[in-house]
Symmetry: C2
Amino acid sequence: MAILRSTLDFLLYDWLNAASLNERERFADHSRETFDAVLDTCERIAREKYAPFNRLVDTQEPHFDGEKVILPQATLDANRAYAESGMLSAAQDYEEGGMQLPYTIEAAANGFFGLASVSIGSSLLTKGNANLLLVHGTETQKAVFARNEFNGRFSGTMCLSEPQAGSSLSDITTRAVPDGADFEADPLGARYRLKGNKMWISAGEHELTENIVHLVLAKVPGPDGKLIPGTRGISLFIVPKKMVDAQGQLIGVRNDVALAGLNHKLGWRGTTNTLLNFGEGKFPVNGEAGAVGYLVGRPHEGLRCMFHMMNEARIGVGTAAVMLGLAGYYASLDYAKNRPQGRPMGPAGKDPTQPPVRIIEHADVKRMLLAQKSYGEGALALELYCARLVDEQHTGTPEGADDARLLLEVLTPIAKSWPSEWCLEANSLAIQIHGGYGYTRDFPVEQYWRDNRLNMIHEGTHGIQATDLLGRKVLMENGKGLQLLAGRINATIERAIQVPELAAHANALGQALAQVGAATKAAWATGEPTDALANAVPYMQAFGHTVLAWIWLDVALAAHAAADGAARTGRLAAMRFFFHYELPKIGAWLQVVSNRDQTCAALPEEAF
Amino acid sequence: MAILRSTLDFLLYDWLNAASLNERERFADHSRETFDAVLDTCERIAREKYAPFNRLVDTQEPHFDGEKVILPQATLDANRAYAESGMLSAAQDYEEGGMQLPYTIEAAANGFFGLASVSIGSSLLTKGNANLLLVHGTETQKAVFARNEFNGRFSGTMCLSEPQAGSSLSDITTRAVPDGADFEADPLGARYRLKGNKMWISAGEHELTENIVHLVLAKVPGPDGKLIPGTRGISLFIVPKKMVDAQGQLIGVRNDVALAGLNHKLGWRGTTNTLLNFGEGKFPVNGEAGAVGYLVGRPHEGLRCMFHMMNEARIGVGTAAVMLGLAGYYASLDYAKNRPQGRPMGPAGKDPTQPPVRIIEHADVKRMLLAQKSYGEGALALELYCARLVDEQHTGTPEGADDARLLLEVLTPIAKSWPSEWCLEANSLAIQIHGGYGYTRDFPVEQYWRDNRLNMIHEGTHGIQATDLLGRKVLMENGKGLQLLAGRINATIERAIQVPELAAHANALGQALAQVGAATKAAWATGEPTDALANAVPYMQAFGHTVLAWIWLDVALAAHAAADGAARTGRLAAMRFFFHYELPKIGAWLQVVSNRDQTCAALPEEAF
């Protein structure tokens, strides 16, 4: 964790100048000292309450004893320690009990938990849930649900997917009907009864908190009793696991939400993942089947409300992927420094009477370590950059805030997808460095690899991110988001081209940016989505590598300006690695995009 | 399995012309009918005795009850069915009880077992062990050990690695000393006592067979009692788990070989993997500690003997990786054809009242399917091509046999490494197609991915294969192996350039070959191994992609000549996929090779 801390210090203070955030009114009480105190606390809790139990939560998977979902005591302890630290509400207003911490610092500090044990906690969903209610909920809903989530009494879920619909939310069939003639008079919000199944619900059932606040997408039938097709028909409801009164106290009545099954996963096993039945009558409320739910926001606007928090959720997934990548890097670095095996290449290695060297002295092991550093630290910088944009969106000048919003629209698919793919690759390299030992469960790296495989799937798959990027984000507002990003990239190029050590990389980045721009145009040359989007994933891969090259060049400018030393040498080398070994890959990806290659899309089903 | 069978039929008969092998004297009794009968039998056994238990052997890992290693009954049944099929000795002479089956057919037929359950059987090591003894053993050793391995009474292991030495065999410390003054008079071979630890021993302890024949590398101390440094000091010994007489009967005495631990692995859990203690005194023989071992071949030539069988072992690993890749492809193809979700792109998809389409209709799913097909079927063709070279080496004209030997030297690192890397990637795509379901243990694809991760590690890691390729194979005999390969590739190009549909790909392959040739020269321009080999893995990746492009172009020639139909369309599309989406990647890999890039190799340890 010490390496992560020094990397965070460099990126936050030397690169992003995060200490200057206290010039903003909202953060005026803060300083580097208060930020450091938050980082210290999180690092300590992660070291004491998370890291020692990462393997335990993998082997002691959640199980259902017929009444309760059983989790290891360590999970309860870790969640309690997190809630007690105040991190659940750190970013909130003082009057909400928060500390008005910048999101940049919150995201950085939360990194320690991902590094220590990515699946033991589930704070991301609880925070996202409560944040959504702060924006779209009534005063009572905020007081009863959001505040009790921020203080750790309740936890939260997001219930979107259904078994038959997966990513296709327009096909959900969970239905909500008004509960009685007085349904609009409930102090907690217009009261409905919900029936349906929700799949892939993380932390959907457990005993970690007094109550669980489910945020559920469902459709209110039209006058003909039919569900409105498409996403327009979707509304959003609060469905508590246990019924509460308007003061947030449990009233001793279970709501009609039942665990239908636990998903047994490849990894990420510290977090319960569930299939939930809403309203099947297992726990009737007032003698009636149907889960009681309270409308959030206006009817039919459920998806808009839900997506409000999507950018931060996706940055959260990206950061989790980064932390797993770095965890593998640190583990394999430690192993490589301590494992003697083999001899150097060339004449020095010919003498078998000499003792073996440590494997970090082998060029190929160094290559695998530097690749991990380049992927992991580069992606960390990207996530912090995005987090800084979130702060800008909330506290910047109107123009700065709007630019930040647009940049986030374009960068979020990359912040989510790129670490999911490349920090997973980093984890595979960490296994490879360990050799046979890496393939055993005696070392942590195989678990990191398994845990990380989730990140290309949840919160929007790779394919969905790619379609979002090429089909929507680079086009929106007449391409203004893409232009803004190009402007930022060009600004970095202009600075770097002045530095002899970086000039060649600045030129390479300029060419890459031009290639991406040309491919974007070529993809859409016919105006047909089927032509453009057939190769959306290769496009996203090339776009992502170009963004990472930019981030690395920008980070390198800060590293170059820093004092000589091993850290500076390492950062500049990781940047060079990215430009020499990675950026040239974009040519192959963009070729099929520019050609609107239909080899895959046009192949008839029977030919597979 | 039906898809695999039709692919094998095409590759064996329409592409490799395997039926003509019966023109060779050794195979004169064979015909396509006898080959088909072998394929039928293996397909049937694999379907009945292997496939239904693949998840079972993953969840019911081998465990040690203090006396015995316990494996599921299904493992015993599968191994018995395999032995009873005669496949253990299929390639052997008639007088050895074999059926003189070409290796090409044996390799193809064994594919079914890899597809059904890669880890349930361990025939590869037993066959390799027995084959080695046929070449290097005495007549008694052949009769007592090899023949009882071929008939399934005994099984075999290869004991090379040690906990402290890993891939670095020169550092092994297992020692063997003559056992008594009459040690050379033993009918089973010169008798030694061995002491030491062997790590990563597959099938090192179990009750599947009457006895286990360990082939063990150990060092005989010099007159000063010290071990000879380096690989020169290594000799090879047969160390049976239970002592046998010269007729191969158990004499009721346990040899001093003890299980020190089972390795608990990420995957491949149907096969026991062990740490063995030799000669620690747990089972003294004649009252004395020390495992009794019988010398094979001459002293100090152990490594040469052991490596005799390395090519076939590596083709075996490559084939296992291929079969896992194809297993994931077939599973995800089936899922994609049956899972409805989402709507088409473009205007047709805007109407939410239309039912969802099956996901195989989405371009990105097709891309992920075609990638898997291209990786899996291309790599299968490569393995069969190498198997055909093994037959050529054994039954061809002297010149043909020598060419085959040299080609195998160059191609084996690719046959081992390429599927290990790219069929693993295929398995990741198979998970991705399944979405969240792919991340659960309710579907088979996550296990394929875990099982396949081993293949880049065992039988020589990726790094070792790459150093072997660029450091030895492309240089050996004045580069004659590389020239031979280039000749074969050019012959394919010359044929393909005549076919309008293939001409552009022929040109692309010609350019790729020229790039690889130039990079090989540039890598060695200074003659310094440290310069050349710093980027041996990227070199191997580019070399492998070029070889696969060649294989695909050659397969496409056969497909092009075949009758119209879905299979022909699919094969030509998989070829085009490889040329459009994959081959262009070699530029990025070769750039660092040609520049002798030292970014990684030169980075000091403290900068990581």
